[in-house]
Symmetry: C2
């Protein structure tokens, strides 16, 4: 099965955006180390899965930010604009079915991005690797990274890297009972 | 003014206890390193401030766990049982007034503990040092460490220590504008 990876930045109190969607507090920390780390991560995946919210955000960027195939998970979006059709498809699938779909097409490592999509994968315990960069700021509210679960999910801590701007980036691997 | 310190363990998703109050998921990680680290922290403070909830929990312990003077912040508790009176007092004060009270009595470093008390201090930006140990478990719900704020609070990251059981302990210092 295709492995699913999360790579994301959060505030100390676990938010990935302000309620308005603003990530001004996060962008401040996007220095060369952060970009290097992201590039290294992206090189380790072969497909990107995002939700409708992330897709809408990305469509407002001046240039398309992804160099790998992108699948947009959505129940309502039917199609994508012509100019991104060569690199983007819409799928209306549940997380497990999506991973099966990707697996059947030869994709091995999926980058799963976007708050709701990440939560839907975690709710089914389908995230294999979790890379969280915490910036040293409390926001007091916003869009939370994590949501509710039916049961605890335990990870192995692989490594943590710290940076001079205060980012603490931890790498976790899902510890699965065999 | 007396400096206020937080030293606490949370799940990866930011909870300090299950909704039931259970900390079984946290206690699993209380190995010798965790105890050593706690002892080192406790040696750096000269007074302990807890809320009513923590006080009630601690009163159920077989032995009194603190070796420093304890102040219980409560609006409703009037007094403490006789056998802990020599080491514990109840105060009905707001966070800033409490720190002033402690300062006037010569206390320099306060350990502020308990979810609601920590949140009330953070809401007034009165926490100087934040030491968070994250255990590699997602709970999906429970008692959150952090609450809402009127404005962002930025910290300096001082150091992060990682442990073989998966704990990542980060030390933050409040970065105050001068």
């Amino acid at each position: 099965m295709t492995a699913a990876h999360v790579y994301i930045g959060t505030s100390l109190d676990g938010f990935i955006a302000r309620t308005s969607g603003d990530i001004d507090w996060l962008v401040k920390f996007a220095d060369e180390h952060a970009i290097e780390s992201y590039n290294e991560f992206i090189a380790s995946v072969d497909v990107i899965v995002i939700g409708r919210g992330t897709f809408d955000t990305v469509m407002e960027f001046p240039t398309w930010p992804y160099e790998k195939p992108v699948f947009v998970l959505s129940r309502t979006l039917k199609d994508v604009p012509d100019h991104v059709k060569d690199r983007t498809s819409v799928l209306n699938l549940e997380p497990a079915d999506l991973l099966k779909y990707l697996s059947e097409r030869g994709f091995k490592q999926a980058y799963v991005d976007g708050g709701k999509v990440i939560q839907s994968f975690l709710a089914e315990d389908l995230i294999d690797r979790l890379i969280i960069a915490r910036v040293p700021v409390l926001l007091g509210g916003g869009v939370p990274l994590f949501g509710s679960l039916d049961a605890d999910i335990t990870f192995d801590h692989v490594k943590t890297m710290t940076f001079s701007n205060g980012i603490v980036r931890s790498f976790y691997q899902r510890m699965r009972d065999l």
